[in-house]
C-alpha cells in the first residue's frame, strides 16, 4: 500500500507517538514546541533590554548563572522539527509559498485572524505550561489529569469560536 503525501490518521499519529517515546527513552522527557518559542522571545528581548529581562520573574530563569536561553533541549528539538517537515514536504513536492485559507476567505482576513489566533494561543500555552504537544500529547501519555483537562478544554474552546470564524475555513 502506498500512502502518498497524506497518511491515514492512525499511522501518522503512531509516528508522532514514536517521536515522543524516543524522547522519553533518550532524554527522560517529552517533546514540545512552545518552550523553544518562549526562549526565543526571551533571547530577543534580552538583546534589547538585558537587565530587565534577567530580572524578569518569568524570563529570568533562562539566564540564571549566565545560561544562554537557546542552549536547551526544546530548541534542538524545534530545529529537528523544522528540518523534518521541510524534508517531508520537499520529498512530496509540496514546498509552496502560499496563504492557506477557505474558499470564501480573503488573504487579508486570513492573515489578521492568523495573527489574533497566534496571540491567544501564545498566551494560553504559557498559562497552561505547554501547548498541544508538550502539554497535551505528552501529558496525555503520562495520564496527567491537567493535560487531559487541557485537551478537552481546547476542543470546547474551539467549538465555541468555530461558528464566528466559519467564513475563514468553510
Amino acid at each position: 500500500m502506498k500512502f502518498g503525501t497524506r497518511w491515514p490518521p492512525v499511522p501518522a499519529g503512531i509516528l508522532i507517538g514514536i517521536s515522543m517515546l524516543l524522547a522519553f527513552v533518550v532524554a527522560g522527557r517529552g517533546i514540545g514546541a512552545s518552550g523553544a518559542m518562549t526562549r526565543f522571545v526571551a533571547w530577543v528581548q534580552h538583546g534589547l533590554f538585558p537587565a530587565a529581562t534577567e530580572q524578569s520573574a518569568y524570563f529570568g530563569k533562562y539566564f540564571a548563572d549566565g545560561a544562554h536561553p537557546l542552549n536547551d533541549y526544546v530548541v534542538f528539538l524545534l530545529v529537528g522539527l523544522l528540518i523534518g517537515s521541510f524534508v517531508a514536504a520537499w520529498l512530496s513536492g509540496e514546498l509552496r509559498v502560499e496563504v492557506l485559507r477557505g474558499p470564501r476567505s480573503s488573504i487579508a482576513y486570513r492573515l489578521v485572524l492568523a495573527l489574533a489566533g497566534g496571540v491567544l494561543a501564545g498566551f494560553a500555552a504559557r498559562l497552561a505550561r505547554g501547548c498541544t504537544s508538550g502539554q497535551g500529547l505528552v501529558g496525555g501519555a503520562e495520564l496527567s489529569v491537567g493535560a487531559w483537562v487541557f485537551l478537552m478544554c481546547i476542543f470546547v474552546g474551539g467549538w465555541m469560536a468555530a461558528w464566528f470564524v466559519r467564513k475563514q475555513w468553510i
Partner: protein, 256 residues
C-alpha cells in the same frame, strides 16, 4: 536492577549527546506532522467543524502510542520512570489555558508545533501565526506578576488519572485506549453525517484494514496492562514541588 533508560539520566549518554539527539527526534516529529496533514491550517481548523476529524484521531493515536510505550517499557524494567519528567497539574490554569488555546487554534488555524512545521513548507499564514504566538508569549512573561498567582494556583503535583479515578494504572491505560477507539469511531460517524464524502477512495478498504489491525494491537496491549497492579508501573512516593514559579523573585538553583 539497573535500568537502561532514560539514557541521558542513567549515564548511558552524555548530556551534550542528548542535546544533539534531540535533532533527529524532532526530525521524526516534524516529518510525521507533515504526513499527518498538520502543516495545513485548514485541516486543523476543519476538526472543529467535523469536516475532517483527522486531528483528534492523530492525537488519540499519538497519545496511545506514547502511553503504551512509556508504561510498557517501565513494566518490563527497561525504563526507570522515576527519572522521567512527569508533567504537574495546575487544574484551573490549565482549564482556562485550554479554552483560550482552543479559541486561538480555530481562529489562527495552528498550534505552535504545526505552525513551525508549516513555516518549513512555505506557508505565509503560519509565519503570521508564529509572530502572534511570540507576542502572546512575551505578553505573558512580561506581565507575569499580574497573573502569576493564578498561574501557580490549584497545584496538585504530578496527579494522574488512575489516582483521580481510584483504579489501577493498567486499567486506566486500557480505558484511555478504549476511549480513543470509541472517540475515533464516533467522530468518523459525525463527519460522515455532517459532511458526506462525494469522492470514493480506492484505497479505502485497505486503509480501514490497516488501521483496524493497529487499533486491535493497541487494545490487546491495553488488556494485558490491566492485569498488572499499579506498583509494577510506578512507585508512588516521590513528591516534587519544584514546578512552582515564584511570582516576584527568582532564585536560580533554589526553586528548581
Amino acid at each position: 536492577m539497573d535500568m537502561i533508560a532514560p539514557l541521558a539520566k542513567t549515564g548511558m549518554i552524555s548530556s551534550s549527546l542528548n542535546l544533539w539527539l534531540a535533532v533527529p527526534i524532532g526530525f521524526v516529529f516534524g516529518f510525521a506532522l507533515f504526513h499527518a496533514g498538520f502543516t495545513d491550517s485548514r485541516r486543523i481548523a476543519w476538526a472543529f467543524y467535523f469536516k475532517d476529524v483527522g486531528v483528534p484521531v492523530v492525537m488519540f493515536s499519538a497519545i496511545a502510542t506514547g502511553m503504551l510505550g512509556l508504561w510498557g517499557l517501565s513494566l518490563i524494567g527497561f525504563l526507570d520512570i522515576s527519572m522521567v519528567y512527569m508533567l504537574p497539574t495546575f487544574l484551573l490554569p490549565m482549564a482556562v489555558g485550554g479554552l483560550i488555546f482552543g479559541l486561538g487554534m480555530v481562529i489562527g488555524g495552528y498550534c505552535p508545533g504545526t505552525a513551525a512545521a508549516s513555516i518549513a513548507t512555505g506557508k505565509i499564514d503560519a509565519v503570521v501565526f508564529i509572530v502572534g504566538f511570540l507576542v502572546g508569549s512575551l505578553v505573558f512573561g512580561d506581565f507575569f506578576p499580574v497573573w502569576g498567582d493564578f498561574y501557580n494556583s490549584n497545584y496538585m503535583g504530578a496527579y494522574r488519572l488512575d489516582q483521580w479515578l481510584g483504579i489501577g494504572l493498567g486499567t486506566t491505560v486500557l480505558l484511555v485506549v478504549l476511549i480513543a477507539v470509541g472517540g475515533t469511531i464516533f467522530m468518523r460517524f459525525v463527519q460522515n453525517k455532517v459532511w458526506p464524502s462525494t469522492e470514493t477512495d480506492p484505497q479505502e478498504k485497505q486503509v480501514v484494514k490497516l488501521q483496524g489491525a493497529l487499533i486491535a494491537v493497541a487494545v490487546t496491549i491495553g488488556f494485558v496492562f490491566a492485569f498488572f497492579p499499579s506498583e509494577r508501573f510506578i512507585d508512588d512516593h516521590v513528591e516534587t514541588p519544584y514546578y512552582i514559579v515564584p511570582k516576584t523573585t527568582v532564585m536560580p538553583g533554589n526553586s528548581e
